[in-house]
Amino acid sequence: MNTTKIKVVLAGNPNSGKSTLFNALTGLRQKVGNYPGITVEKKTGSCSLDDNIKADITDTPGAYSLYPKSIDEKVAQEVIFNRKDKDYPEVTVVVADATNLRRSIFLITQIIDLKMKVVLALNMVDLSLKQGVIIDVSRLSHELNIPVVAINARKQEGIENLKKAIVEANSQEMATSFFDVSILFKKIIEGTNELRNSENDYGSFLALCLQDTNVDNKLKDICKKYQFIPSRAQAQETIRRYKKIDAVVDSCCTIVKIKSNRSITRWLDDILIHPIFGYFIFLGVLFLIFQAIFSWSAYPMDLIDSWFTDLSILVAATLPSGVFNDLIVKGVLAGLGGIIIFVPQIAFLFAFIAFLEDTGYMARVGFITDKILRGFGLNGRSIIPLLSGAACAIPAIMSARTIASWKERMITIMVTPLMSCSARLPVYTLIIAMIIPAEQNWGPFNLQGLVMMAFYLLGFLAALGTAFILKFILKAKERSFYIMEMPSYKIPDWKTVIYTIVEKVKVFLFDAGKVIIAISIILWFLSSYAPGNRFEQIETKWAGKENAETHISAEKLEASYAGMIGKSIEPAIRPLGFDWKIGIALITSFAAREVFVGTMSTIYSVGDNSNIQSIRERLESVQNPDTGKAFFTTAVGISLMLFYAFAMQCMSTLAIVRRETNSWKWPVVQFIYMGALAYISSFIAFQLLS
């Protein structure tokens, strides 16, 4: 059958239900953003509109207008305004929040004036009705002269009608316009039309206001000639446009009762952003998140751990013994088990963050922390990157795009990797379990849990401290604002939360997973082979002696390529309490921190021909060759944890910082300052504790 494919872009205000509609349209047929070199800013997915027409759907970041103020809004504006953009749509669907009709239709009137094919998806009509406002949908459609479809994105109502409207809009030419800007700026628009070789008045007006660089410097000249001040003109046009919108809204809405829906939101705000309790509640929420991550996920993690141990034993027994068996069990499976075990923790973390964002609570946290964060050169909006940084620095750094001020955004990007991300979790979990007895309590609290929290707190304090220093180093390029909508509280849409979890886990498993498996395999090779005939010499040396097996494998690892690399950096890391085996783990961890556990697991299983054990048991049995006692003492453990807390051991983060800042300077500076912080603090801790 003949099918055609069209491009559809979803646009709309923040909190208008755009992402919910995107999920409803595309389901799981979404392309997951992967890093590095990615598109997490625009999500795409596909959907069938009818039997013959399929659509590629692009979801854009929320925006109030086509005048971008921050980088994320720029992404949305670019797709719609730039005809050369690869996602430039055939049809644009603007999602409008019916409870905020006036503000929601501003954006669509701009798009109408660009002469693009549009459909208005009017969401949350039921809520608006509850508030006593009846919207006459057909009247609205008539006034705007475009198709308007009432939908309920959460309940997936009206989706079929919306699809029909998209197909219909696509088949017709767009001839309508909403507000004629040339009545305000006739001459200059005519001049600009000529320069741009276009007849689209509003397109030319936007090009003037945005100083579209595609049309070179001539735009500047023409502004001078007509004394056109973009910001003033934009304000003038916005006010006039709203006047016209007011008339449309008045004619389409009937107010049947004036009832404030603010009561519940107000009541919750009285508690949640109370000048004193608000902060305690926020700390309580954080505490709950950590509790969930550490205690709730323990059960599925133990389960995964035992599955992998069983699987390894099974595979080791089934495959014919030899090099291939070794590679699979000690290289691939050891590495793989090291990643999959984090899935429960990552899922919990992202579930909480998605939940808090979806309810509207995050905007409140920004509200009560903006003043404090400002003191550190940050912004209330920095709270989302910082908290997300506790999950993963990569999406966190991208979410800093909503910060309009360059300086505040830069500081946020520079310090976010100091927040303890989920990749550090396994490192902390493993080491804490080894150096602190599980039964030990400190008052009513479990000591292991407290140490874990202390390390999270340490990361946060280091981030604030660094931000404070950067505040005096970086120069502000523009004024800083904190203008943010505080949406009414709502019960989160569980589907959206679940989609977020699935997406993040997929990214983690496939992208981080690829790196980890590759490194595990390389590592296995490096630790199983040595230059020349070193292995033969060792075998001859121990031949026929007692305990030959154990001695041979230990010496072989030391003689291997990996051992040589570890040995070569040992002098530098000895003052931190690390030996050459940890040295190998440090090097591989520069690809990604979570590689640590897999590496330790691979290294220690290569050197150990006895039965297959879990990684913790294996490490606990390691002895210090000098003292004969356990190698992982408190001093070594703390030093190692500090190193992982501060060092920039994540290639993906460096790649994303480079992309987001558009220069190598920032990731390099970040790498160096974090490395120095890590080395110095580990050094001090080890020397003091041992």
Binding site: Y64, S65, Y67, K69, T99, N100, R102, R103, F106, S231, R232, Q234, A235, T238, I239, Y242, R262, T265, R266, D269, I273, P275, A363, G366, F367, I368, D370, K371, G380, R479, F481, Y482, I483, M484, E485, M486, P487, S488
Partner: protein, 74 residues
């Protein structure tokens, strides 16, 4: 004629003007246009930032910016 930063919480006023181009650009497109009703809903600790209700939705804004918004009694 009063500054938004000086008005009492909960009282309804009307936006008269925004005396700052950059701020105006950001607020106008969100519907905070002259003639709209505006109420200070609450203030964060140290009175900064403040939460306002304008054109039917709640918005937070810093005190220094609220000083640039001129309002009159409705």
């Amino acid at each position: 004629m009063q500054k938004l930063s000086d008005i009492t919480i909960g009282k309804e006023y009307i936006v008269k003007s925004i005396n700052d181009d950059e701020l105006a650009q950001k607020l106008l497109e969100m519907g905070c246009t002259p003639g709209e009703k505006i109420i200070v809903e609450r203030k964060a600790p140290f009175d900064d930032p403040i939460a306002i209700i304008v054109s039917g939705f709640m918005l937070s804004i810093r005190k220094q910016d609220a000083e640039k918004i001129i309002v009159k009694k409705s």
